[in-house]
């Protein structure tokens, strides 16, 4: 079993108006095999947490720690984190002109595993994974995310999740912008990765809708850069009924 441990994490970004603190002391522990839903209103810091774990240069960690089985994640480069077993499914996947999906997937797999995948089984694995995610075969020869629709991009994020087999997957609003059919396809993919065993999942979402398809073990509610409440799946049901107003009313008046 592996453990991703976040302790008292303070994160800020530089803006034109000066340094702006976003995360204000987040602590969270995820073990492989567990699925944690991170919920909260816009601007509460959910995506910042995801990007910080992956190592996006825009975010500055002011204090606190992130460790993976005791190893200091914050000391690692972005690619080292991925090779250590972290995977971020991005909210807005980036287009990479000139690089085909096939080339990209093989290069990433080689980097993660430290050796090139065996050609015959790899090709078969890619084809099978694409078929399960209802991705047309011609996408293999298209450039990474170039001209993909929002739903196609999200499916390709999950394709990478299934092929790269990380220890921990952080899904940053993977459900946003998906219609119900696409949401089901994507959720099935995540569930396959979870059922394969050994995946710890951090499921970041604004809505409860995806939680009908991916069952969380724990739910954490983010408000203003902190975890305001946590509990089991029942907390998600309550959020579905009540929304986030309750937490926002508790926050200091900002008028």
């Amino acid at each position: 079993m592996s453990t991703l441990e976040i302790k008292d994490l303070h994160v800020s970004i530089a803006t034109e108006q000066g340094v702006k603190p976003i995360l204000k002391g987040v602590s969270l522990t995820i073990n492989t095999g567990e699925t944690h839903a991170i919920m909260g209103p816009n601007g509460s810091g959910k995506s910042t947490l995801a990007s910080t774990i992956a190592g996006h240069p825009r975010y500055t960690v002011d204090s606190g720690s992130i460790t993976l089985d005791g190893e200091d994640v914050l000391a690692m480069t972005v690619d080292q984190r991925a090779r250590a077993g972290l995977f971020l499914a991005m909210q807005y996947p980036v287009e990479i002109p000139g690089v085909t999906m096939t080339n990209f997937l093989r290069t990433a797999k080689t980097a993660i595993d430290g050796e090139a995948p065996k050609l015959r089984t790899w090709t078969k694995d890619v084809k099978a994974a694409m078929a399960q995610l209802r991705i047309e075969p011609e996408f293999a020869e298209r450039n990474v995310n170039e001209g993909f629709s929002g739903g196609e991009k999200k499916r390709h994020e999950i394709l990478q999740l299934e092929l790269l087999k990380p220890k921990f997957a952080i899904l940053d609003e993977t459900d946003s912008g998906l219609d119900v059919d696409a949401l089901k396809v994507v959720s099935e993919g995540v569930n396959r990765a979870i059922e394969d065993g050994g995946l710890g999942t951090m499921l970041i979402t604004h809505y409860t809708r995806i939680l009908r398809y991916i069952k969380p073990d724990f739910v954490h509610v983010f408000v203003d850069g902190n975890i305001a409440e946590q509990g089991g799946p029942e907390l998600a049901d309550r959020l579905e009924d009540e929304g986030y107003d309750r937490y926002l009313a508790d926050a200091p008046a900002t008028v």
């Binding site: 190592g55 996006h56 972005v78 690619d79 000139g98 690089v99 990433a108 980097a111 790269l164």
Partner: protein, 445 residues
Amino acid sequence: MTELTEEKVIDTPVSEEHDGKVWSQGFIKGMTEEGEKLSDLNPESGPLGGSAVKAHSHGDSHGGGVGVPDSSRAGRLTSYKLADFPLITGREEDWRFTPLKRLRGLDRVGVKGQELNGPAPVVAVTKPDAVTVETVGRGDARIGSAGIPEDRVAAAAWEHFAEATVVTLPAEYQGTADDVTTLTLTGAGDTPAASHIVVHAKKFATGVVVLDHRGTAVLSENVEVLVEDGANLTVVSIQDWNDDAVHASGQHISVGRDAKVKHVVINLGGNLLRTTPSARYTGPGGEVEMYGLYFADAGQHLEQRLFVDHSTKNCKSRVTYKGALQGDGAHAVWIGDVLIRKEAEGTDTYEMNRNLILTQGARADSVPNLEIETGMIEGAGHASATGRFDDEQLFYLQSRGIQEDVARRLVVRGFLNEVIQHIKVPALEERMRDAVERELAAGAL
């Protein structure tokens, strides 16, 4: 790439500039209103149309350009005589991007004793038996059969070259991509020099000719490519000079009836390279593919200006130029002029330029121009986009475990490979891939 796109309907003429910005333009469909007369300008009279058309105050050495408004690309002066061209000030449309001070006098031949009499590059030849390569004097009848200078620098070279190299593919010769004729042109030093090359594919000949420029030179060159009816010729011009070289190359392509030409420009090494290919059709059914690949490093100025002159019916042209830029002061210029004259019904043309800026301090100018004087065409369009390899792309690739240097290579290789794979000459493709690796390594990426 950070890319914006913008769709436009093209009027006559279009000229846009893009400074590290992004821009693309779509295909023009339709425009087939029966009988519509869009313009009486530019009646069919090629620049080689002869003195009858051009007999005018400039004397009888002229080709096109007389009596046509300056706003049209067809109005550009063409002449074999240096004296016909005014001095270059740098404000002219076709010189405004070129750093004249770095031309080492090529622009000022005949002014204040500036000469153009240095030794021409040394020519070494490898070729199949059937192809002939000759060195001929200025009086050879084949000189002038495919081209005419379109600027002062090219006219100076035309007046000053001592002898020309003529490559001939005999009629119905069947060359292959492995059976290539290569002229290795090694610069003979930094005294300004002129040179002249004629590549002649006779009727129904098929083959590949490579011009491989190396060494150090300050050179003004004219290359005439004469492609007779039904021939299928590939010409690859590689500029892989030493860092200090200056090279202006006017490449004039004459495309016969039902002939096919693939013209490839590869600009890698040199301080200032200005390559100006132009294609003209002498009969219907001709097809031209023009590819370009350039990699501008710190301080390099790589300029590519092309012109496709559709003056006859049912001809086709495709232009694809791609370049990568890295380092302080790296500058690439791409100008793509396409003119569809009134007579050129059934024309099918598309041109595209893409730039990938890898570091701060590099600049790409990309200007596609399309003039259309008839609505009776198959299609006409152009696209230009300049993108930056940005932090978000790098982050995305790294977040999949790919190291930074590998990520950059992956992107640049992929970007340029689109052009490389069209060369279809295995030995050259290999060399170009190596060259790209070398450029990347030199840029310490």
